[in-house]
Subunit: 370 residues, 2 copies
């Protein structure tokens, strides 16, 4: 691949540096929105990936109907960019529900909930604040993390919301297909199961006079197969704006679609056959590749056969046994991380490559505990 981070690599910005290529982001946004438009799907991107107000603004400009967040801190930052926020998280503890209810005074706020307790306490918080919180019932469609276990439980929760008065508004269903990180030959079956489970749940709701206006699904892996889940009305991809080695190795994009990289410097070549770069797990995280964990801790663009075999906090050890040549001390390399979301979360700032040059962008919503 042509290294689209070559300019940043040559610029001698201090390393390790997180570099974002804006033209590639433009391309990634256009691709997703074009697909969504074609299939009549709304897009509500998950901002956990970039945590940047500037990039959220670009997502809105490309036609997103609103933004998705995981934390209230993110919601409070992104409230400046959109009036329509989805907290795709059971925000039911005292601190979160108070902040949700407060934000719902000025914004359209929706929260995903999977418990009767959660519905009760959110209703009480909204009542105390004098606001209305939109509720999406979180439905377990085969990935056992959160979500109502059966269509019947989802119905009971929806009925509780519908009966809660004006503090809550039943907006629909949310699901997260985390198990779609599977080999390609298993995906069609997973998508079919999700499609059936949703159809069954919605039919049950309708039989009881309830409507799911929004049926919100994730995520980047399934983004371009969303039309196979027929009742879905909106998608919440996050990673698609940057991509990473998880989406590349799963076949969802190519290296050329990766908009974020870490530029690192070789700081030691004292151990024969290896070199050490200044990017360890405090830069790249310890996340292994989801589908190919044996491939190491990221991809070295200039040495595609090299392998990042071990990370300390600030050291990345690269094995060059499969390469014809080794880098020199002081040489810079470009790393595409396995999982870009937690990697961005480690930085206060990123460098943006634009058509005009390189500028700094702040990772506005990182480091917020809650």
């Amino acid at each position: 691949m042509a290294n689209r981070f070559e300019r940043a690599r040559q610029e001698l910005i201090a390393t390790p540096a997180l570099v974002i290529d804006l033209p590639t982001i433009e391309h990634n946004l256009q691709r997703l929105h074009c697909y969504a438009k074609q299939h009549g799907l709304q897009v509500r991107p998950h901002t956990k990936t970039h945590k940047s107000r500037r990039l959220a603004r670009m997502q809105i400009e490309h036609g997103s109907v609103g933004l998705t967040v995981a934390k209230l801190g993110e919601a409070e930052v992104m409230a400046a960019e959109s009036n329509d926020l989805l907290i795709a998280y059971p925000a039911i503890d005292p601190d979160r529900r108070r902040r949700v209810a407060e934000l719902a005074k000025s914004h359209t706020i929706r929260v995903a909930v999977d418990s009767s307790y959660g519905i009760s306490v959110l209703a009480a918080a909204a009542e105390a604040a004098g606001s209305t919180i939109g509720i999406l019932i979180d439905l377990n469609i085969g990935f056992p993390r959160t979500g109502a276990a059966t269509p019947k439980i989802a119905l009971e929760l929806a009925q509780q919301v519908a009966q809660a008065g004006k503090s809550l508004r039943l907006d629909g269903i949310l699901f997260y297909p985390g198990h779609v990180w599977a080999p390609a030959d298993q995906q069609a079956e997973i998508l079919t199961q999700i499609d059936q489970r949703l159809a069954e749940t919605i039919a049950l709701w309708e039989a009881h006079g309830l409507t799911a206006n929004i049926v919100s699904g994730g995520s980047t892996p399934t983004a371009f197969q969303s039309h196979m889940i027929r009742r879905q009305t909106e998608i919440r991809p996050g990673t698609y704006i940057y991509n990473d080695m998880n989406t590349v190795r799963a076949g969802y994009c190519t290296l050329d679609d990766c908009a974020a990289a870490v530029i690192a410097t070789v700081v030691s070549t004292a151990v024969p056959g290896k070199c050490v770069i200044d990017a360890g797990n405090k830069t790249l995280t310890s996340d292994r590749n989801v589908l190919q964990p044996e491939t190491g801790f990221g991809h070295v663009v200039e040495y595609p056969d090299a392998q990042i075999v071990r990370l300390s906090e600030e050291h990345g050890e690269i094995d060059f046994a499969a390469c014809d040549s080794l880098p020199q001390l002081g040489e810079r390399v470009t790393i595409i991380p396995n999982h870009i979301c937690p990697c961005v979360n480690l930085q206060n700032h990123a460098y943006l490559q634009t058509a005009d040059g390189i500028e700094q962008d702040s990772v506005d919503a990182r480091g917020l505990l809650t």
Copy 2:
């Protein structure tokens, strides 16, 4: 164990929250300094673990001779707390060497180096700044990450430093025994090998008229066995101030010695036999336990037989199959992380439990790219 984080857990501070117990820190500092004094060892703690000026000050007050850092950003923050800083990192790229030389104008600065190239460029940087940089030759004592591969190479590098004129000062030897994270029955042999390798290198230096005034070793795992490495003059432990499940499961301390924990809230119990807490890999990191990776992503104090089996970014999934009871929705639990250093690095603030109450402390040196 009595949960020393019980007070913070009851306080209803927003979760996830990183809580530090100051009395336990006092205990950990006293234990290490008492041991070091007994054996005539200097202590130069690694501040990468806490990144807090306040805690660095406590380490100085307990008799540390100076501070250790990995990044220049950390050095620039910690320069306010100590006049004597060791950068235990090959700080040889243009940005780092310029900042090292600048800091050396006002502080005693030492840098670990393992290459002739590194020595040349640091000498040039110090000359340009009009300062003197102290050099420790990084020696590979069996952990193949950085470090001169043989005593002979270490001698040649030392000679280069000695001949560099007043820009550099040969201060001694640095080593990092990362391979001491090994089962207990292999450690004595590792320590003996380190001891022999150091003796051999120092003898070679002395035969050529060179002295290693400082012989600086790590780390928390070997801290209390440091007397077995006879030529060592100082130790650079980092984790000892907090401890974590890595040091507990390796047998270096008990759960009662852990001074840092994450308080988390149960936000979903929708999947039978499991619960989800609001601490995922953006709070706990994806680091597995070094010696017992099968134990999951940390220890749940209130449910010691539970296992944190999977982390998403903001979700931690806990399996309670081995427990008699499950927590309720909204209940708070205390998690001791596997590896506390990168975990602290994720937070802008921590809560400190003192004798008087709970206050906030800033993680001053985190989020600094370089």
